[in-house]
């Protein structure tokens, strides 16, 4: 088991390193003069040369690469082209906003999805089963900005139940740190973007849970539980669902990876100040240090979450015989 964890962790680090390298090369092979993005051609020669040196743009490629890697590790991620603020400071703030939104949305999806999947499998073929399948598939076919805008139109503009965007009411300051999570204003703003994201990804855990439950209910131990005279609810929840949850776990790590990528849209629709919105801003204004760092941070987050999910899956399923571990 230990060996497996160590191997997976090294492998994860390798993946992160590879993504960083790919990113480095993508940003260097783009057409046009990269220096023109940093240094206004209107400046005189001497200033241009000085700025070039300051940003390290005049050194050969492999030295730039080494500096780049060193900068990543030491958390010196450069300065924004547009605001000249250190990229790390910008990201430090935005990172947590995205994480909170993701956390809320994903918890909602996984809990509601597995619960629905369980009930659907139990009442298989009934009206709930069919209608839930169809609506989940349709929800999955609607891009998140469609559902988001729909929610905005109905719940915000027409009924005025929820704010139309942002993380807080303009003018009101939120408490920093953990206290922010319990602030009423924050939660009020969190609801719509969280539900929008959650509904988009709802179909996956729901259908997987349903299929998994159907497979599990054919097993011997379920028959035994029913023969023992346990109530259907007990059989379903205590015995079937616990074992049917495993495939949901496997898929949840991939799901979170996809969701992190899709955050961009929801954050833009609801003006949620997170990494996704930062990504769009930076890419539109060609603010390359910010875009690069945000992308890399998202990638690292995805890869690390996958790693955690893989490791926890090992602990959860004793049937897996890990090479080198105990059976």
């Amino acid at each position: 088991m230990q060996e497996f964890i160590i191997r997976r962790t090294i492998y994860t680090l390798f993946t992160i390193f590879a993504v960083a390298t790919i990113l480095f090369f993508i940003f260097r092979i783009m057409p046009g003069d990269p220096t023109a993005q940093v240094i206004s051609p209107a400046l005189d020669e001497a200033s241009q040369a000085r700025l070039k040196e300051a940003f390290g743009l005049d050194k050969p490629l492999y030295i730039q690469y080494a500096l780049y890697l060193k900068g990543l590790v030491t958390l010196e991620w450069g300065r924004s082209f547009t605001t000249s603020k250190p990229v790390f400071d910008i990201l430090k703030y935005r990172f947590w906003n995205t994480v909170f939104l993701m956390g809320a949305a994903m918890s909602f999806t996984l809990i509601l999805g597995t619960a629905l999947g369980m009930i659907m499998a139990w009442k298989r073929g009934g009206p709930l089963d069919v209608s839930a399948t169809v609506s989940a598939l349709v929800l999955q076919s609607a891009p998140p900005f469609v559902t988001g805008i729909l929610f905005l139109m109905v719940l915000s503009y027409k009924l005025d139940l929820f704010p139309t965007g942002g993380m807080n009411t303009p003018g009101e300051r939120l408490p920093t740190g953990i206290a922010m999570l319990f602030n009423k204003d924050f939660l009020h703003h969190l609801v719509l973007p969280a539900i929008t994201t959650a509904f988009y990804y709802l179909a996956t855990p729901m259908l997987i849970m349903r299929d998994s439950m159907l497979e599990v209910t054919g097993s011997d131990y379920i028959e035994l539980a029913q023969a023992k005279g346990l109530s259907p609810a007990t059989v379903m929840i205590k015995h079937a669902a616990r074992n049917a949850l495993l495939p949901v776990f496997t898929v949840s790590s991939v799901l979170i990876g996809f969701a992190l990528g899709g955050q961009v849209i929801v954050e833009q629709v609801f003006s949620w100040p997170g990494m996704g919105q930062l990504m769009v801003e930076a890419a539109s204004s060609h603010d390359y240090p910010v875009a690069q760092a945000t992308f890399l941070l998202l990638a690292v987050l995805i890869v690390v979450l996958n790693l955690l999910a893989d490791i926890s899956y090992c602990y959860l399923d004793p049937r897996i015989s890990v090479p080198g571990g105990k059976k």
């Binding site: 993946t15 891009p143 729909l150």
Partner: protein, 292 residues
């Protein structure tokens, strides 16, 4: 390939789709959009960027659906119905191209990695894991931001990422098939590896391949819609997502429900049609689903 093989293949696909209510619905929708995409320039009543005037001579800005403008007009006075029809062509083109190219990449990587195993498998899977680590939409955005807003960069960016899911799944399936007896028999007979992979294994994973083809096209359409909505699309070739982007930046999102509804419904219809078709194939690939 002989004609009879192609004919049998097409008849088999027709039967699969026919036997499934979802599949039928999906196929009808696909046919509908395909026809519109083909005939687009001939059936669109107005030009794409033409600012129209109504019968009274006034500039027809933000009109609600009426007899004159069946789906209403935009903030610049352009006919939404025409935009919708012409955008169908671009959207379908992007979806089909990206989807088909990505399934080609994914299927081949999956087949080769699954069949040969060993070092080749490890290399391919490491590469797939790296691609899995990249967030999809941000990658699209970065690529468009670096290389320019062009329809081909969108297609290339989508193709770079979308093949990853099908590669993994197909590889798993191939690994289980490769142990089967008829494959061992073919090897003993001296069949070349190429022939075994593409002549024996591939036909047996065909439902899975078609399932993921439909999924890939669906995901391509969604990805393109997302990227267009954020503004990272070709300004010269309008797509449904692009129409919604124009709506968003015009600021008329509060009032112009007709401008919002039509491209959204089209996207939802097209993607769910593809998802329904893939669900039909899923029942073939995994027969236990049908009995449930």
């Amino acid at each position: 390939m002989k004609f009879s093989i192609i004919k049998d293949f097409l008849v088999a696909q027709y039967k699969i789709i026919r036997g499934n209510r979802f599949g039928m619905f999906g196929a009808v929708i696909l046919l509908f959009f395909g026809t519109i995409a083909l005939l687009a320039p001939y059936i669109a009543p107005h030009e794409l960027w033409e600012s129209l005037r109504d019968s009274g001579g006034k500039l027809a800005i933000l009109r609600q659906p009426s007899l004159e403008f069946p789906l209403g007009t935009t903030a610049m006075g352009r006919d939404i119905l025409s935009q919708l029809i012409l955008a169908t062509r671009t959207t379908v083109l992007i979806g089909l191209t990206s989807g088909l190219v990505s399934i080609l990449i994914g299927a081949n990587i999956g087949l080769l990695a699954g069949y040969y195993g060993g070092k080749l498998d490890e290399v391919f899977m490491r590469f797939t894991d790296i691609i899995y680590g990249m967030p999809f939409l941000p990658f699209l955005i970065v690529l468009i931001s670096l290389f320019g807003r062009n329809i081909w960069f969108v297609i290339i960016a989508i193709c770079c990422i979308i093949w990853r899911t099908s590669a993994r799944v197909i590889r798993a399936q191939v690994m289980s098939i490769r142990q089967r007896q008829y494959i061992q028999a073919a090897k003993a007979r001296g069949c070349s590896n190429f022939r075994i992979i593409y002549g024996h294994i591939m036909p047996n994973i065909l439902p899975l391949l078609l399932l993921y083809t439909a999924f890939n096209i669906a995901w391509s359409v969604l990805a393109e819609a997302g990227a267009s909505f954020l503004g990272f699309s070709d300004p010269n070739n309008i797509t449904w997502g692009g129409m919604l982007y124009n709506l968003w930046i015009s600021g008329k999102i509060r009032t112009a429900w007709w401008w919002f509804a039509t491209p959204s419904i089209c996207i939802i219809l097209l993607v769910s049609a593809l998802v329904f078709i893939s669900r039909a194939y899923e029942e073939v690939a995994n027969p236990r689903l049908k009995q449930r």
